[in-house]
């Protein structure tokens, strides 16, 4: 919302406050209406004055140009222009030699084919006033401009515009009047003023034109009023008004339309002007739209309507979407002379629904959905007709036509000393009443510690005690309030299992060389395809956003892998040649038949040796077993048993992928990325893992076993094993053989220490060598006992088909 300092002076006497725009901005910002910028419209302008064209002649050598002799009150200046719209006797803005334009341009002299021009005469555009006048011609000033007057002091050329961010609860601040009232509240010593055009006007004549009824069958229209202006001449608005509109961000159109915009900006009441003769019938009905009804709005779009929308119709024809946007055919044109001004009051809920559903954020809809003071519909109509009289030369003393439904009346609100004191740690009730009174909220009943206040109709946001407290709080400011902590600590504050798990994961992986990353939860639409996921894989059916910003951020991730791969890509693109180790933990989003969707917590990691793997200490490439160590660290430290079983994922290497099991439950995959996908990323040797950590949320307490006080005995065994058999299979067999021996000696540890294939080993086989540690918790084992057991184990392994070497 743009606020003009000059126009503000029409509504409030701020001069005695000795206030600068900057000081006002600070006060507004702290009290809830953040001032985002302050603009001095004259900018760097210096030395630009009004000047009268005393003489005008054609350039002797080039007819394109005219030579003007300008009277600035202090002398005559010669100036050349290519503009055509001026004549002798006109007053214009003149920027003489050495003067500066608003954009900082300094003017000098220029030779036009032998004639010197000193400075220039200005168009509106050159004054920084866009849309105020034809940019190709000079801005011709009204007759009251005196030569020598500074431009910034004329017609509001030099104004100060505050851009204020108005919160959605304060529809009342979307006008100069509302801002003036707010300032009055913030500065109790100021006084409100009423501009001339807002004074009561005698309007008692019957309409000169025939007009039927205004019917309001839809209660969402609180009030609907029409004012009549006859004999209007459509032309430009007064220069000051045009400049005001431009400064406040509206394009001047013509005097009749400008009046409606001007009054809306000043008072906050949206108005609509139409040509009476273009109305389909001499009657107005405001009704709910029919489900499926269509209407063509002013912007040329065909709108499908519902019963929640309100239509303004005439003779059964829709002429406007009430409170939102007009129709195409009833506008003011240059030949209009009978103008009807509409001033209405609509339900914010209804307008809000329509404007949100159709995505129309017109000035009217913006205001109505934030609530427009219903009391304004009368006074704004009177003000608008007054200005139509002044700007369009129309006759306006006709009695307005009105129809009303129930108008929302403000309800009293009670303020208690107790609540005020609890909330703000301050309880001066008399002072509080004064503050509220400044905002127009008057005390209607005084019961001492409990007082009743009546908000004005312009403040529908004040409905409960807390609202009153906020008015007091924002007036006083919050910075001086005392600080303290709650008296009593509630017990059992708990960071919670999932936060602890998240902390555990990062505390495990970061020291293991991983960098923690955070990537977007949405992925490109085609990610399942890039991952080669089967169409029936749940991960291939992501939830998709209906209104995405782009197709690249459209599908909710079902796996963390694409985020890590794009992190790898970005890292490499940015010139990183060293190893990449990254991990992410976060939610994935899966469709679920029963609950529409689930959000399991995943952890995924990626390691890549880097583009430059040269090292003084030789090749230290990482592989499947490095990432396996990381996954094991994560899972075993939570107290779960981890198993890796040869597995398959479409996006993983067909021979180097494992399913990960925690206590026998599959929780994810680990291994090398599919080489074809590596190639697409232009890298080789990417290892990844991804696990669903939901099942690891509970951290198991470790069960400790004291070391035996009796010595262990170590024996090695070397087996010839077919390649189809895994290390895990062999270890299982060895353990089983020890168990089957019936001995009470325990196999305390079993460790693979050598793998050999090649010379001396048949094709399709490898030799695996294990170290076994036998121990008893009851006695020191004799060599015979150990030998006997170990030989037994060797024999049973042979019996299972192993070749023991």
């Amino acid at each position: 919302m743009l606020i003009s300092w000059e126009l503000l002076k029409n509504f409030i006497d701020i001069e005695p406050l000795n206030l600068t725009p900057e000081e006002l901005a600070e006060r507004l910002t702290f009290s809830g209406s953040e001032v985002e910028s302050i603009t001095y419209t004259a900018g760097k302008m210096k030395g630009v004055v009004a000047a009268k064209i005393n003489a005008l002649e054609a350039h002797p050598k080039d007819a394109k140009y005219s030579i003007a002799h300008l009277d600035t009150g202090t002398g005559i200046h010669v100036c050349i222009t290519s503009a055509k719209n001026m004549k002798k006797g006109d007053t214009v803005f003149y920027a003489g030699e050495g003067s500066i334009l608003p954009d900082g341009t300094q003017l000098g002299t220029r030779d036009f084919h032998g004639v010197m021009s000193y400075g220039m005469m200005l168009s509106a555009e050159e004054l920084g006033l866009h849309d105020v006048d034809d940019p190709s011609g000079l801005l011709i000033l009204p007759n009251d401009a005196r030569p020598g007057d500074k431009a910034e002091s004329l017609y509001h050329v030099g104004d100060v515009i505050l851009d204020v961010s108005i919160t959605p609860n304060r529809g009342d601040l979307l006008s100069l009047l509302g801002m003036a009232r707010e300032i009055k509240g913030l500065y109790p010593k100021s006084t409100l003023k009423t501009p001339e055009w807002l004074r009561p006007l005698k309007q008692d004549k019957e309409w000169s034109e025939e007009f039927g009824k205004i019917s309001l069958p839809d209660k969402g229209c609180y009030a609907y009023r029409l004012g009549l202006a006859t004999g209007a001449k459509i032309s430009d608005s007064p220069l000051t008004a045009k400049i005001d509109l431009a400064h406040l961000g509206m394009r001047p159109i013509n005097n009749a339309v400008d009046v409606t915009n001007y009054v809306m900006l000043m008072l906050g009441q949206p108005l609509h002007a139409f040509d009476l003769n273009t109305l389909p019938a001499r009657e107005i009905t405001v009704r709910a739209a029919h489900e499926g009804e269509h209407m063509m709005t002013l912007d040329g779009k065909d709108r499908a309507l519902t019963e929640r929308d309100m239509l303004i119709t005439s003779g059964g024809e829709a002429i406007a979407l009430a409170g939102v946007m007009g129709g195409e055919q009833t506008g003011i044109n240059d030949d209009t002379n009978t103008i009807v001004i509409e001033s209405a009051s609509f339900s914010p809920v209804r307008v809000g629904h329509t404007s949100r559903r159709l995505g129309i954020n017109s000035e009217a809809a913006f205001r109505f959905s934030r609530t427009v003071d219903p009391a304004l519909s009368k006074s704004a109509l009177m003000a608008a007709t007054t200005l139509i009289r002044d700007w369009c030369g129309a006759v306006v003393d006709y009695k307005p036509l009105s129809s009303e439904n129930d108008i929302h009346e403000p309800k009293p609100v009670t303020l208690t000393r107790k609540k005020l004191s609890v909330y703000l740690s301050w309880d001066n009730m008399n002072e509080a009443a004064k503050i509220l009174d400044g905002f127009g909220i008057s005390q209607v009943k005084d019961n001492g510690d409990s007082r009743v206040f009546m908000p004005p109709s312009s403040r529908p946001d004040i409905t409960i005690e807390e609202d009153l407290i906020e008015e007091i709080g924002r007036f006083r400011g919050y910075n001086e309030t005392e600080e303290r902590l709650p008296g009593e600590m509630p017990k059992r504050a708990d960071i919670g299992d999932s936060m602890r798990l998240a902390g555990f994961v990062r505390n495990t992986l970061i020291p293991r060389g991983y960098t923690e990353v955070l990537t977007y939860s949405f992925l490109p639409e085609d990610f399942p395809e890039k991952l080669r996921l089967n169409p029936d894989d749940i991960r291939a059916k992501p939830l998709t956003i209906s209104n995405p910003i782009s197709r690249d951020q459209m599908s909710m991730r079902t796996t963390l892998l694409p985020g890590l791969l794009s992190g790898l890509k970005v890292s490499i693109t940015s010139g990183w040649r060293e190893p990449v180790r990254i991990f992410e933990q976060g939610r994935v989003f899966l469709r679920d038949a029963e609950q529409s969707h689930t959000e399991p917590e995943h952890v995924a990691g990626l390691i890549f040796n880097g583009l430059d793997t040269r090292s003084p200490s030789g090749n230290r490439n990482e592989d499947f077993y490095s990432i396996k160590a990381d996954v094991e660290s994560l899972i075993t430290a939570r107290g779960y048993r981890v198993d890796f079983v040869s597995g398959h994922e479409n996006f993983m290497h067909a021979g180097q992928t494992a399913d990960i099991f925690a206590d026998g439950v599959k929780i994810g995959y680990a291994g090398r990325l599919k080489p074809a996908i590596e190639q697409e990323l232009d890298v080789s040797g990417v290892y990844v893992f991804e696990i669903d950590v939901t099942g690891l949320t509970e951290s198991r307490k470790p069960a400790f076993t004291p070391a035996s006080s009796f010595p262990a005995s170590f024996r090695d065994i070397s087996l010839l094993v077919a390649d189809t058999k895994s290390n895990d299979d062999v270890m299982k067999d060895i353990r089983q053989c020890v168990k089957d021996s019936g001995s009470d000696i325990t196999l305390e540890s079993l460790r693979l220490f050598d793998i050999y294939a090649g010379k001396g080993i048949p094709d399709g086989f490898r030799s695996l060598a294990y170290s076994l540690s036998y121990r008893s918790h009851a006695k020191t084992l004799t060599v015979d006992e150990v030998e006997s057991l170990h030989n037994g184990v060797r024999e049973s392994l042979k019996a299972k088909g192993y070749v023991v070497r």
């Binding site: 919160t167 936060m499 956003i545 794009s566």
Partner: protein, 350 residues
């Protein structure tokens, strides 16, 4: 002084003299034999004990034993010295360049936003807050409706929202967890909820996904003063210093009164007109907050006549950017390891 004492002292003196002259392990062995061997001086001394008067036997015997301990200890010590000196020559020949790169992996790096999240959650736990959570794909009811934002409400314009076909949405703030927690735990209550939130915004200062931490305290007679004290504790603990801060009145549909908290620019403290972090204002907006609106308390099935409270939403990305001097929000979400490692000397600084 007795004759025997003189003898013990004489043996000691003689030992010291020999030891001082020894420089090889072999010489030390010879000394050991000479004094403690079967025919050594100490053995002879012990043998002579019998000749002493009975009252002296015990004390002299003790003195001899003490001397034996002394001699053995000093021989061991001298032996270690000689051996160490010999080894050291060899060690020096095995000298390595300790400035060569470390083997294996060195530590990775934390993500500043997640670090911030964990730090603040820890601080808040110290103030009695538990961590609560809620879904990121949320129902309109929890995200808007019960937070006093019905479908027609213009406050919806404040938060441009991503929707799914079934009407669910990506939560635009962590505030829905307020309601979910009140329904689950009742009053009194202190919770924080860190997490991702989403808005349909994408430019240099807005990311479609960002991180927030919601805080909620519900109790009897809760004052703005307590919210102020809580904010001050949290900020000081997080930034590790006492920063200036200020409150501005503001508006959120689910709090009344509402305010925003600005903290002193951590980059320039308001001294740099062209500061890239605060753009010269000297202040940074980091927390939105207010006293919980009675309608919201009611939606949480708690009686607003009995309980009230305050709620706040901290911008975690903002806090992280401030603490770690990060200028561009978008750097946080692209997974670029070179960026995150750069803060830890991971990349060679030339």
């Amino acid at each position: 002084m007795t004759e025997e004492n003189i003898t013990v002292n004489a043996v000691r003196d003689s030992f010291r003299e020999s030891l001082a002259g020894a420089s090889t392990l072999q010489e030390l062995d010879e000394i050991r034999v000479k004094f403690t061997g079967k025919k050594g001086s100490l053995t002879q001394l012990l043998r002579s004990l019998g000749k002493l008067p009975p009252e002296l036997r015990k004390s002299t015997g003790q003195e001899v034993n003490t001397l034996r301990d002394e001699i053995e200890h000093e021989l061991d010590h001298a032996g270690r010295k000689i051996r160490d000196a010999e080894n050291e020559k060899q060690e020096i020949s095995q000298r390595i360049d300790v400035t060569l790169p470390a083997h294996g992996r060195t530590s990775g790096a934390f993500h500043p936003v997640l670090q911030t999240m964990h730090e603040i959650a820890d601080i808040m736990q110290g103030l009695g807050y538990s961590v609560a959570s809620g879904p990121e794909i949320e129902e309109d009811y929890y995200n808007f409706e019960c937070l006093n934002v019905p479908p027609w409400h213009p406050a919806r314009d404040m938060q441009d929202t991503f929707y799914f076909a079934d009407g669910t949405l990506l939560r635009t703030h962590t505030s829905p967890v307020q309601i979910r927690s009140m329904l689950k735990y009742g009053a009194p209550l202190r919770i924080v909820c860190p997490g991702k939130v989403y808005r349909r915004d994408n430019d240099t200062t807005h990311s479609p996904m960002f991180n927030q931490m919601e805080g909620l305290l519900v109790d009897k007679n809760v004052s703005f003063s307590v919210m102020k004290g809580t904010m001050s504790e949290m900020l000081n603990a997080f930034f590790g210093k006492s920063l200036r801060y200020r409150f501005r009145a503001s508006y959120f549909p689910f709090t009344e009164p509402s305010m925003e908290l600005d903290i002193e620019c951590v980059e320039c403290s308001g001294h740099d007109e062209h500061c890239r972090v605060c753009h010269g204002t000297g202040w940074l907006e980091v927390v939105g907050m207010g006293m919980v609106h009675p309608n919201v308390i009611r939606a949480g099935k708690i009686d607003p006549d009995e309980y009230n409270g305050f709620a706040f939403g901290i911008g975690l990305d903002r806090m992280a950017m401030l603490k770690y001097g990060i200028g561009d929000l978008r750097l946080l979400f692209d997974g670029n390891v070179s960026y995150f490692m750069s803060g830890f000397g991971g990349a060679e600084k030339c």
